[in-house]
C-alpha cells in the first residue's frame, strides 16, 4: 500500500510554479494579517487593559461588554468562522472567494487573539511605574505609550510570535474558500493526488518559515530583556 504512494509520478513542471505561487500566497496572507490584525489587536488589547477596574481609563461596564465580544468570537473554530462571516466578507471585500476574501476573517480572528495576548502582557506591569509617571505629571495616554508599552515589549514580541503561528494555521484553512496558499497546495497536489512527498514539502516550508520567525522573535526579546 505504502509503495503505491511512491509510484505516483511527480510532475515537477506543474508542481514547481504551483509551489512558488502557494508560498507567495501564504506569505501575502500571513503578513497582511499579522500587520493589520496585529495592529488592531494591539489597540483593542490596550483598550481592554486600560478599561479594567483600577486601570488607566477604568470603565468596568465598557470592559465587560468588550470582553464579552472578544470571548464570543475567539472559541469559534476558524473554519466555521470563515463561512459564518461570509455575508460580512462579501460586504467588505466584495467577494467571498479568493485570497483577499480569506484575509478579512483572518484579520478579525487575529485581532481578537492578539488583543487577549496584549492585555495579558499589560496586566503584569508593576503599578508603581504607572504611579511614578503620574507623579511626574504625565497624562494617562503618555503613560500608556511611553511607559507601559515599552515596559512590556519583550513579552509582547514573544506574544506576536505565538500569534504568527496561529495565523499560519488559519492561512492553511483559507484554501477551503479558494484562498490558495501552502495548505491548499498540500491538499490539492499532495492529499488528493496520493502524493505525500508534496505534503511533506509544504510541511517543511511551513516549518522553516515558523522557525525563522520564532528564532528572530526570541533573539529580539532576549536583546530587549537583557538591557532592561
Amino acid at each position: 500500500m505504502f509503495n503505491l504512494f511512491w509510484q505516483t509520478k511527480t510532475n515537477w513542471s506543474i508542481i514547481t510554479p504551483a509551489l512558488f505561487k502557494a508560498i507567495s500566497e501564504t506569505l501575502y496572507m500571513v503578513s497582511l494579517t499579522l500587520g493589520l490584525g496585529g495592529l488592531f489587536g494591539l489597540i483593542l488589547g490596550c483598550i481592554l487593559w486600560s478599561t479594567r477596574k483600577d486601570s488607566l481609563f477604568s470603565h468596568p461596564v465598557f470592559y465587560k461588554i468588550l470582553e464579552f465580544l472578544v470571548n464570543l468570537i475567539r472559541p469559534i473554530p476558524f473554519i466555521i468562522f470563515l463561512s459564518a462571516i461570509q455575508p460580512a466578507t462579501i460586504a467588505v471585500v466584495g467577494t467571498s472567494l479568493g485570497t483577499n476574501a480569506a484575509i478579512f476573517p483572518m484579520v478579525i480572528f487575529c485581532t481578537m487573539a492578539t488583543s487577549r495576548i496584549v492585555e495579558q502582557s499589560l496586566i503584569n506591569v508593576d503599578y508603581g511605574i504607572i504611579e511614578a509617571s503620574f507623579a511626574m505629571g504625565a497624562s494617562r495616554l503618555r503613560t500608556l505609550f511611553q511607559v507601559v508599552i515599552p515596559e512590556v515589549l519583550p513579552p509582547l514580541i514573544l506574544g506576536y510570535a505565538f500569534i504568527f503561528i496561529a495565523i499560519m494555521d488559519m492561512s492553511a484553512m483559507a484554501g477551503t474558500i479558494g484562498g490558495g496558499g501552502l495548505g491548499d497546495f498540500a491538499i490539492q497536489y499532495g492529499y488528493n493526488k496520493f502524493n505525500p512527498l508534496i505534503t511533506w514539502i509544504s510541511v517543511a516550508i511551513i516549518l522553516i518559515i515558523v522557525q525563522f520567525v520564532q528564532q528572530f522573535a526570541n533573539f529580539l526579546a532576549k536583546k530587549l530583556l537583557r538591557r532592561s
Binding site: G128, A138, P150, S228
Partner: protein, 266 residues
C-alpha cells in the same frame, strides 16, 4: 527648632476613605497639619497608619474626600488634570521600590519628567541634556547615564529616583519609605544626600517611614500617625525623649529595643 513661618504644604481637616464592596476604611481621619518651607518633616507610624495615603494627597495621586490640601497656598483637591500637572511639576516623589522605568536608560529616566514639563515651559533639548547631566553628576552617577536601571544596585537606583524627582526643580520632595528597601549604610548615604539637597536648594522634604531611626538622622519636626490620625507633632528631640502619645511611646521603645538600649530583650 520651630516651624518656619511660610507654609508650603497645609492640610485642613482632611479625610480620605477607601471603600470596596466588602468594607470601608478611613485611611486619613480629619488631619490638620502645617509644613513650613525648607523643613525636613518626618511622618512616622506603623504600616497601615495612613502615611502613604497622606503624602499621596499632597500631589493628588489620591483625592481627599473632604477638607483642603494646600500646596504653596493653592488648594489642590478639586484641580483638573492641567492644574495637577503644574502642581506635580513642583513636587518630586521618591518611592520605596524606586519605580524606575526598566525599558529606559538612566539618562532617559531622568529626562522623562523634563519632557512632560516641556510643552508648557519650552525647555530646549540642549538645556534638557545639560540638566540631566548636571543631575547625574549631583547624585554621583555620571558614568551610568547609558545603563539600564536593572544593572544598578539598590542605592544607585534610589539615587536615580532622587535625580528624577529633582529634574523639574520642585519646591517639595516627597519620600515614601525611600530607604526601606536598602541596607543601613546605603540608608545613611541616601539620607545624607537628602539633607544636602535640602540645605543647598532649600527644598522642603516630607518623608514617611515606619522606623524612628530614619527621622533621627535628618528630620527637624516629626508627626506620628496612628489609625489615620496625627496623634502627635513635635520636634524630633521632644518626641524621642518624651513621647506623649501611645503610638509615639511604642515607636520609641521599639527603636530602643532594636538598638539594644531598651530595657526589654526580645
Amino acid at each position: 527648632m520651630k516651624k518656619p513661618k511660610n507654609n508650603i504644604v497645609e492640610f485642613k481637616n482632611v479625610s480620605k476613605e477607601f471603600t470596596s464592596k466588602k468594607n470601608r476604611r478611613l485611611a486619613v481621619k480629619d488631619v490638620t497639619l502645617e509644613i513650613g518651607q525648607g523643613e525636613i518633616f518626618g511622618i512616622v507610624g506603623r504600616s497601615g497608619a495612613g502615611k502613604s495615603t497622606l503624602i499621596r494627597l499632597i500631589n493628588g495621586l489620591e483625592k481627599a474626600d473632604c477638607g483642603q490640601v494646600l500646596v504653596a497656598g493653592q488648594n489642590i483637591v478639586n484641580l483638573n488634570y492641567n492644574g495637577l500637572k503644574q502642581i506635580r511639576k513642583n513636587i518630586g516623589f521618591v518611592f520605596q521600590h524606586f519605580n524606575l522605568f526598566n525599558s529606559k536608560t538612566v539618562y532617559r529616566n531622568i529626562e522623562y519628567p523634563l519632557k512632560i514639563a516641556d510643552k508648557s515651559s519650552k525647555i530646549s533639548s540642549d538645556d534638557r541634556k545639560s540638566r540631566v547631566l548636571q543631575l547625574l553628576d549631583y547624585v554621583g552617577l555620571k558614568e551610568y547615564a547609558n545603563c539600564h536601571p536593572n544593572s544598578l544596585s539598590g542605592g544607585q537606583k534610589q539615587r536615580v529616583g532622587i535625580a528624577r524627582a529633582l529634574a523639574t526643580n520642585p519646591q517639595v520632595l516627597l519620600a515614601d519609605e525611600a530607604t526601606s528597601a536598602l541596607d543601613p549604610e546605603t540608608t545613611v548615604e541616601i539620607m545624607k544626600l537628602l539633607k544636602k539637597i535640602n540645605r543647598e536648594f532649600g527644598i522642603t522634604i516630607i518623608l514617611i517611614t515606619h522606623t524612628i531611626s530614619i527621622v533621627r538622622l535628618i528630620c527637624q519636626r516629626v508627626a506620628i500617625m496612628s489609625g489615620g490620625e496625627i496623634v502627635e507633632i513635635d520636634t524630633y528631640k521632644n518626641i524621642f525623649f518624651n513621647p506623649k502619645s501611645q503610638a509615639g511611646k511604642s515607636l520609641v521603645s521599639t527603636f530602643r529595643i532594636l538598638e539594644g538600649t531598651g530595657a526589654v530583650r526580645v
